[in-house]
């Protein structure tokens, strides 16, 4: 996967209530969810975000609830990847399962600024910040995480097992 977009930058411990507040969870429609993405901490995000944009955040991104609505809302808002110092574990699993690219790269999470234009290449394991000219590399996924991305998410993987593909 290779994507280029502008950066929306956030701090540490961005929780799933901030990504999508519980009051909007009485729906499973991705577009409706996307309409409230990041609302409680960044009311303008939804208007600012363009297809391909990238979220960059600090530590423990996606902590809190198990709601898969969080990565779904981010993906449906058009975000092509989330780069963070690190992720909360349920969010991490959920993102892999639904095919939202997530990248753990502390150096990039630190250095990249809001509004920078950035290209992410998950095959090469590189991040290029075109605004500052800086380049970063990150470790490719291993184990089941790599298999999940390879398969295109958990649904096709289970289809394989059930012979329903």
């Amino acid at each position: 996967m290779k994507a280029t977009g502008r950066v929306h930058k956030y701090g540490d411990h961005i929780d799933t209530d901030a990504i999508i507040a519980a009051r909007y969870l009485s729906t499973t429609d991705p577009i409706e969810l996307a309409g409230h993405c990041m609302q409680d901490i960044d009311a303008e995000f939804v208007e600012r975000v363009e297809p391909g944009d990238i979220i960059v955040a600090g530590e423990n991104f996606g902590c809190g609830s198990s709601r898969e609505h969080a990565p779904i809302a981010i993906k449906a808002a058009g975000v092509s990847a989330v780069i963070a110092r690190n992720f909360a574990r349920i969010f991490y699993r959920n993102a892999l399962n639904i095919g939202l690219p997530i990248i753990e790269c502390p150096e990039a999470a630190e250095a990249i600024n809001a509004g920078d234009e950035v290209t992410v290449d998950t095959d090469e394991g590189t991040i290029v910040d075109h605004t500052t000219g800086e380049e970063f590399s990150f470790q490719p996924l291993t184990g089941v995480a790599a298999e999940l991305v390879e398969a295109g998410g958990l649904v096709p993987m289970v289809q394989e097992r059930l012979g329903t593909r």
Binding site: D40, G64, H69, N86, I98
Partner: protein
């Protein structure tokens, strides 16, 4: 090996496992609720699955927006109910058997020592109190679990938490876990297991143990666990026909870190907005007036919690201008609380008593906060907007501190009254 490693090894059909490796485990129970099940059901269908792996090992609990707060919520609940019927899921209940998932599943004997459980709810870690491995996952993982009866895990490293000394009056399980989160932070146990032990845990009843394991996720942990003992085994007696598998960490088990907490000097704790790690002793809170109090949730909605709150409220009255909402964690607890006179005591002291629901805990309904309003709650999260308006505030505390605050009209401990 640690108890968590043993639980995972057993469910993976292995003699041993080491932290960092990936294992596929068979599941004893898969849970989803009215928020997460609707997506899980869609994904289950997309997977092409026609039946669940075992209808007796699925639990679908509608508790977050129930009694249905609006048409959308009602539609979601109906979707879950219809799916439960279609699949013959035994563990789906209507209101008279229902309540908050993490309270009713253990109460009904659906989790016992040795089990491996996933739930599409982050507080699934509550069941670690029974000596089970239980962890939160998302809807798609839950769908795969329902279809296959299996789930993959990365074996976590374990942090050992030892509580020593003797608890002071009015100090309870909630204070023990808030203190720990204050010490290690909300990411302090990220991807790791938290194993709680020590004389204080040994002397704690099951209600308190559930409270502690419930908030393991608030330190980022994959699971929280307490090795089963006499307390555990006598608690599950009469609740299940299955044989418990009692495991414990080896003496030479390796821990990535040990945290020791001396409880002799521990006072009731309060977590300030907007993270559960912002804890202080109640004596250091200062003057914090409140608009609302919530006593309930999967953290502290058990009968023992209501009794503790009642002890403080007895013969007293909620302060003018404060709404104090008491929410029994299940229909059964509501009935017990009524029989024991607690409901009358709450009503007389000026509290509202709500039907069992998550409701205000996640700002869904039944006590949503307006801009600028402030609540103290026995819930487990105080993130921005958690109980309503993004500019409202939630402080976390135990039932006795919540009750004392209701009486004082500002955050207070029972000894301040």
């Amino acid at each position: 090996m640690t108890i968590t490693e043993k639980l995972l090894a057993r469910a993976a059909g292995r003699d041993e496992v080491t932290p960092g490796e990936f294992v596929s485990c068979r599941l004893d129970l898969v849970l989803a609720n009215d928020i997460t099940a609707p997506i899980a059901i869609d994904e289950f269908r997309r997977m092409g699955a026609e039946k669940v792996f075992d209808p007796a090992r699925i639990a679908l609990v509608c508790d977050h927006a129930t009694p249905n707060r609006d048409i959308n919520a009602a539609t979601q609940t109906k979707k879950v109910r219809d799916f439960a019927r279609e699949m013959g899921v035994a563990n789906y209940w209507e209101a008279d058997q229902g309540g908050i998932e993490h309270i009713i599943l253990p109460d009904k004997g659906l989790v016992i020592p040795g089990d491996v459980v996933i739930g599409a709810d982050s507080h699934t870690c509550t069941y670690g109190a029974l000596g089970a491995f239980a962890t939160g996952v998302g809807s798609t993982d839950a769908a795969a679990g329902m279809a296959l009866g299996e789930c993959w895990f990365r074996v976590p490293e374990t942090i050992e938490v030892v509580y020593t000394g003797e608890l002071q009056p009015w100090v309870s399980a909630k204070d023990l876990i808030l203190k720990l989160i204050g010490e290690i932070g909300v990411a302090g146990a990220r991807y790791r297991s938290l194993e709680f032990k020590g004389e204080v845990i040994d002397n704690l009843g099951m209600a308190g143990r559930f409270t502690i394991c419930n908030m393991a996720i608030e330190a980022g942990a994959k699971n929280g666990v307490i090795a089963p003992d006499e307390t555990t085994l006598s608690w599950i007696e009469g609740r299940t026909d299955r044989e418990p598998v009692v495991l414990a960490s080896d003496d030479d088990a390796s821990y990535v870190r040990t945290v020791e907490i001396d409880c002799s000097a521990l006072e009731p704790q309060v977590a300030f907005p907007h993270l559960p790690e912002n804890t202080r002793g109640v004596s250091e809170v200062g003057d914090v007036p409140i608009d609302q109090v919530v006593i309930g949730a999967c953290t502290n909605g058990r009968l023992e919690d209501l009794c503790a709150a009642a002890k403080v409220l007895e013969g007293r009255h909620v302060a003018d201008g404060v709404r104090c909402i008491v929410i029994p964690g299940s229909h059964e607890i509501h009935l017990q609380a009524t029989r024991e006179g607690l409901v009358e005591l709450f009503l007389e002291s000026g509290c509202l008593v709500s039907t069992p629901t998550c409701g205000p805990c996640l700002g869904m309904h039944m006590g949503v906060l307006a801009e600028g309003e402030r609540a103290i709650a026995t819930t487990n999260r105080n993130f921005v907007g958690r109980m309503g308006h993004p500019k409202s505030e939630v402080y976390l505390a135990s039932p006795v501190v919540a009750a004392a605050s209701a009486v004082a009209g500002r955050i207070a401990g029972p000894e301040d009254l």
